[in-house]
Symmetry: D2
Subunit: 355 residues, 4 copies
C-alpha cells in the first residue's frame, strides 16, 4: 500500500471507452494516484487527446496495447480493467500470474457471478479463470465494504444492478417486501451501452425516441438474482425491463413492491433511511420525494425516493445514479480507495452537474 507521501501507480486497461474516460476524469484530480499506463489496443500509439479531446491539456501516457505491457516491471499498485467481456478474464489471469501483488478493479461482467454454473448458463461458456472467479469480491461498496478492503480482485457491479440493488437490498434483508412481486422498470442514458459503433446507437436513431430492449433476457438479471437472493435468504427472481433514454448519462429505476407483514410505505421508507443514514454516496430523499437522474449527473451519488402506490400495501421505489460514475467508474474509484487504504470519498467529491 502506498504511503500518503508517495502516489499509487495506477493503470487503466481499456482507456478508449466511456468507462475508461470516466476513470481518467476522476483520477486526474485524485491527490494520491499517478496514471502510469493507459491501454487501448486499436488506438495503440496515439495520444489520449486524439481519442478523447477533453484530455488535451493534461500530461498522460500514450495509449499502448495491453499485450505490450510488462506487468512485472510496471509494479502497479492497482489496475482498472475496462475491457470487453471474455477478454477480461484472460488479461487478468495473465496479469496476476506475472504480478500477483497487483490489485484489480474489474469493470466488466467477468467476475460478478460467483456461481460457475450460473456464469456458464448466462454467458454460454465455462469461465477460464475459475480460481479468480472464486476469489473475486462483488464490488457493491455499501454492501461489501469490509471484504473489499482486503480484496485483491473486485468485480465492480453493473450499472443497472448497482441502482436496483441499492434500492432493494435493505428492504429484502429486513424482509419488509414480498420477494415474489418485484417489478424493476429501468431506464438508462446511452452511455450505458458503451462506445460500440453500431447503427442502433447513432444519434439520429435514438434521439427523439424511447424504447425497451432486452425484454425477458438481459445479463444484468443474473446479478440481480444473485444479490437479491443473498439479501432475501431465498431464491428471488424479479421482472426487469431496461429502456434507452435519449440522454448521455443516468439510470432511473422505478421499482414496484408489495410490503410484507403489514408494512406501510412509510415503514419501507424508514428501512431505507436507516440503512443509508451514514453513507456518503447514498441519499434517501424525504418520503414521497422522488429523484431525477439530472441531480446526480457526474457525481458518485445515489438518490433514492419512495412513495405509496394508490393500491393498498404497495409502494414505488425510485432510485437514480449516473451510470458512468456510481454505476461504473465512480464506484470503481470508491473501491480503489478502500483497497489502497485511502479515505473512501477521496477524489469523488464532484457535485452533480445540473443544469
Amino acid at each position: 500500500m502506498p504511503t500518503q507521501s508517495s502516489k499509487a501507480k495506477i493503470a487503466i486497461l481499456g482507456a478508449s471507452g466511456y468507462t475508461g474516460a470516466e476513470l481518467l476524469r476522476l483520477l486526474i484530480r485524485h491527490p494520491h494516484v499517478e496514471i502510469v499506463l493507459l491501454t487501448a489496443d486499436r488506438r495503440a500509439g496515439k495520444p489520449m487527446a486524439e481519442v478523447f479531446p477533453q484530455f488535451a491539456p493534461y500530461k498522460l501516457p500514450t495509449l499502448s496495447a495491453v499485450e505490450a505491457a510488462d506487468w512485472q516491471t510496471l509494479q502497479l499498485d492497482l489496475a482498472f480493467c475496462a475491457l470487453p467481456h471474455g477478454t477480461t478474464q484472460k488479461v487478468i489471469a495473465e496479469l496476476l500470474g506475472r504480478a500477483p501483488a497487483t490489485k484489480i478493479v474489474d469493470l466488466s461482467a467477468d467476475f460478478r457471478l460467483s456461481d460457475p454454473a450460473a456464469y456458464a448458463r448466462w454467458y454460454g461458456h465455462e469461465h477460464v479463470a475459475p480460481d479468480l472467479q472464486k476469489e473475486a469480491i462483488y464490488g457493491l461498496t455499501e454492501v461489501y465494504r469490509q471484504k473489499i478492503k482486503t480484496a485483491r480482485l473486485v468485480a465492480n457491479p453493473g450499472c443497472y444492478t448497482t441502482c436496483a440493488e441499492l434500492a432493494l437490498i435493505p428492504l429484502l434483508q429486513a424482509k419488509a417486501i414480498d420477494p415474489d412481486e418485484i417489478v424493476v422498470d429501468a431506464k438508462s442514458g446511452m452511455t450505458g451501452a458503451g462506445r460500440a459503433v453500431r447503427e442502433d446507437m447513432l444519434f439520429a436513431e435514438v434521439s427523439e425516441g424511447f424504447h425497451a430492449y432486452g425484454v425477458g433476457h438481459h445479463r444484468h438479471m443474473s446479478e440481480l438474482d444473485q444479490e437479491f437472493s443473498l439479501a432475501a435468504g431465498r431464491a428471488v427472481t424479479v421482472s426487469f425491463t431496461p429502456h434507452l433514454v435519449p440522454m448521455n448519462r443516468g439510470i432511473l429505476s422505478t421499482i414496484y413492491v408489495r410490503g410484507l407483514k403489514d408494512s406501510l410505505p412509510e415503514d419501507l421508507h424508514a428501512v431505507l433511511s436507516k440503512a443509508y443514514a451514514h453513507e456518503p454516496f447514498v441519499h434517501v430523499l424525504p418520503f414521497r420525494t422522488l429523484p431525477a437522474t439530472r441531480h446526480v449527473r457526474g457525481s458518485n451519488m445515489t438518490f433514492i425516493g419512495l412513495a405509496a402506490d394508490r393500491i393498498k400495501g404497495r409502494a414505488i421505489v425510485v432510485a437514480a445514479i449516473d451510470n458512468l460514475t456510481k454505476g461504473a467508474s465512480g464506484q470503481a474509484v470508491q473501491n480503489m480507495n478502500l483497497m489502497l487504504g485511502f479515505p473512501e470519498t477521496m477524489g469523488l467529491d464532484q457535485v452533480a452537474l445540473f443544469p
Copy 2:
C-alpha cells in the same frame, strides 16, 4: 352532414396550444374541411403565424377570443375544443345552448368520466354540465366506433390512457390476464404536458435527464379505472407511474401482466393480433418484437408488441403512440371523420417521421 362537394365548417377552440397546432397540421391537408374559426384568448387579434410560425405560408383565420364567437351565425359543423380543464365544460354548454346542432370533439378531461361521483372525487368539484356529461361518448375510436358515429359530443381520451387502453382492453375483455396484477409504467415526451410556461418545463431543466412524476396520483388513473373496469366486467385498479422523457413526442407504456387460465404469452399476443387485425391505426408487431416511439412519430399509428417475461406466466406488453396524434389530435380527427360521415382515415395518412 356536409356533402362531399361542400366542406365542413370547423372551429378549433384553443388553437395556441400544442394540441391546437397539431389539429391544424392535420386539418390543413384534410380535403373536406374548412377552418373558419381559431380561438386563443390571450393571443386574440394575432395571426396564427405569430404563435406557431410554421403556419406562415397558409391562409388562416386570425386568432380571436372564444367569448367573441357568435355560435348561431357561425353554423359550425364541428368544433374541436382544446381548452383547459374546467373552462371547457362552460364553453361547451354555452356553445351547445346557442347552436345545438354543432358537433363537438373535446380534447380536455372534462367529459371523459361518465360517473358524476368519480368526476367530483378526481376533480374536486361538481360537474357544471351534468346532462352533457351523461351524453358524452368516450372517444377511444377502436372501442366505441359505433357510438361515436352518432354522437354529438365526444370526449377524446387522454394520451396515457389511449396508449394503455389499446394495449390492455382486448386482454381484459378476453379475461386473459389477471386484473389485479397490472403495472403500467408509462413514459411521455414533453409535449404531453402542454405549452404551460413553468420552470420545470424549461429546456435546461428537462434535457439530459429523466424522472417520474405524479406517483400514486395522476388524473389519468380515473380514466384507466373506468375503462379497464368496463372491459373486465369488474372493478380494476392498476399501478400507474408516468415519467418524462427528454423528447418532444411519444408515449411508451411498458405493461407487466400475468396470464390467467394458463394463458401463455403467445396466447395473449394472439388475442391482441386478432382484436386489431383490421384496424387501420393499430398495428400489432410480431411476437417478441417491441415498438419504439420514434416509429410512430407524427403518425396516428399505435404499435403494440408483446414478449414473455422470464417469470413463468408473466408477459410484458409494450405500446407506443405519438401523444399529440393518436394520443390527442389525430384521434380527434379520426372521431370527427366518423361523426361527419367521412372515411375514418381521411387526412390521417401521414407516415411516421423517422429519423
Copy 3:
C-alpha cells in the same frame, strides 16, 4: 409519361439510408406513383420494416440488391438513386444503357458539377460517365424548373447548397450584393451525415455538444462555386463553414453579405420577396423576422429571413430547410413531379411537424 389513371412505376435505389426512407415517407402518400423496387445491397432479402420499422404497416417490395435488377423488364418510369458517391455513376450508366427511357433523379453528388475538371479536382478522379455528366440538369427546382421538366437525368442538389443557393442566387443575379464578401455559416442536424456507422455519429458523441467540421474544405463548396458564379456572371468563392447540431433534421444558414450600389437591407429583402412571391416551397418572412429549422421540419418548405447588420451596408440572411426534405428527398419528389408531368406540389403538402 403515365396517365392520371395509371400510376408511375418508381424505384428507390438505396432505400436503407435516411434519404431513401424519406423518399418512401413522401411517396407512400403520393396518389400517382407505385413503388415497384427498393434496393439495399447489404440488406437484400429483408423486408423494409426490418430496416425502418415505421413502414411495418405498409405493403412494400422486399429489399433487393441493385445488381439483381433487370432494368429492361422493370419498365420503370423513374428511379431515385440514393446511393453512395462513386457507385452512383456506374449504376446509372448501366441502368440507362439497358433502359434508356427511364428517368432518373440522383440524390448523390455524382452529377452535380457540370465541369469535368472541377469534378476531377474535388473528387480526385475522372468521371466514369462524362456524357451523362454533360446531360445532367442541376435540380435546384426554383432555378432550373424549365430544364428539369424535360430532363432525363436530374442531379438533386446537396442539402447545404440548396439552403444557401435559394438564399443568395436572387441577390447575386440582381447584383445587389458584393460577391467577394460572402460568409456562409451553416448548421445541420445529424441526418445530414447519413446513416454512416461511425464513432463520431454515436448519440453520446454528439448529444449535448456543438462543433464545426470540414473547415476550409467541404465538397459542397464546389456546388456553391458553380451556382454562385453562374448567378453572378463571374467567378465567386465564398467562405463556408458547416457545423453539426444535436438534432435530427434541419439546416440553418446564417449568411453575412454586403449590399452593392447603396443597396439597403430593405432593398435586399425586396429582391428576395419578389423572386419568391409565387413559389410554393419558398416563403420569405417579413423584414427582420428570422426563421428557425423547427418550423420547416418534415415539410418541403424553405423559410428565408433578412435583417440589417448593425454595420452600415451589411445584412444578415438566414435560411432554413429540412435537410432530408427540401434538402434531399422532398426536392427529389418535386423534381419527379415536374419530370413526370404531375403538379409540382403533389405529395408534398405536409405541414411542418412542430413541436
Copy 4:
C-alpha cells in the same frame, strides 16, 4: 484576506439561478471558502435543495431575501452577485455603502461597460452608481489579471464575450488581423439565457431545432466593442450573431478574420499559441484542429483552434467554452481566487464531463 487556515466568508446573491447553482457547485469543493449566505428573493425561507435538488446532500444556509441581509454583521470576505441587470447596481451600492471592505464579483452586465455614455445608450438609462462603474475592473482574467488582484469590484464578462475576446484579443493586439472584417457567428446552449420562465425556453419549443436571435442588436456587442477597440487601439465594430443550440451548456464561436500584413493563417495560430502558452485555462489546439463544446463541458477551460479558409488571406478561428463555467461562474471563482490571494486554479480543477 483570510489566512490559509481560516476560510473566506462568501455570499452568493441570487442563488436560485443557473449561475448561482454553478457557483455553488464549484465553491462546495473549494478548500478555502465557507458559504455563509445564499439569497433568492422569491424563494426566501426555502432550503436550497428545493430549488436545486442536487444540493440535498450538502449542509447549506437556507435561502433568504437580499434585503434582509445585514452586511455589517456578516463580515463577508467576498460576495458573488448573480442578480438581474438593474437590480444589481442598487444592491452593490447598498452593500458597499454598509460594508466597504467587502469584495465583489458581479456576474451581471451592470459594471462591464466603463463608459457612462455607452452604458446609457445600450441600457436605456443612466447608471445609478457611476463611481462604482468607474472603479469596476473588467474581469476577463487572462487580460486583466494584475488589476483584478487588487480590485474591490470585478465585473465578470458575459459568456459570448469571454469566448470571442479570448479568441481575438491577442490577434488584435498583435495587429495581425483586419479589425474591419470580423464576423463572429456564435452558438450557445440554453442555459445562456438563464432560468427565465418563458414560452420560448420550454423544452418542446427549443428541442430538435436551431435558430438565430438578437440579430443586429445584442447587448454583448457593447462589451465586444469596448474590449476589441482597446485591444486594437482604435474603434472596432464586428458583425455578431448569436444562435441557440438544443443543449444545456457550451458556446462555440466561429470567427471569420482576414490576416493583415500578409499574415498567413499559420502566423495567426502562432500568435494565439504564444499568448496562451502558460495559461491554465486556455488551450490552443494544433493548427487545423478545431474544438467542440463537449470537450470543455463543466470545466473552466477554453479551447481555441484556427484553420485556414480556402480564400487566400482568410482564416477561421473557433473557440469553445462552457458558458456557465469559464463563461460565468468558473471565471468568477478564478477572479475570486486572485482577489483573495488564493492560487488562481484552486477549486477549478474539474476535468470536462464527456460524454
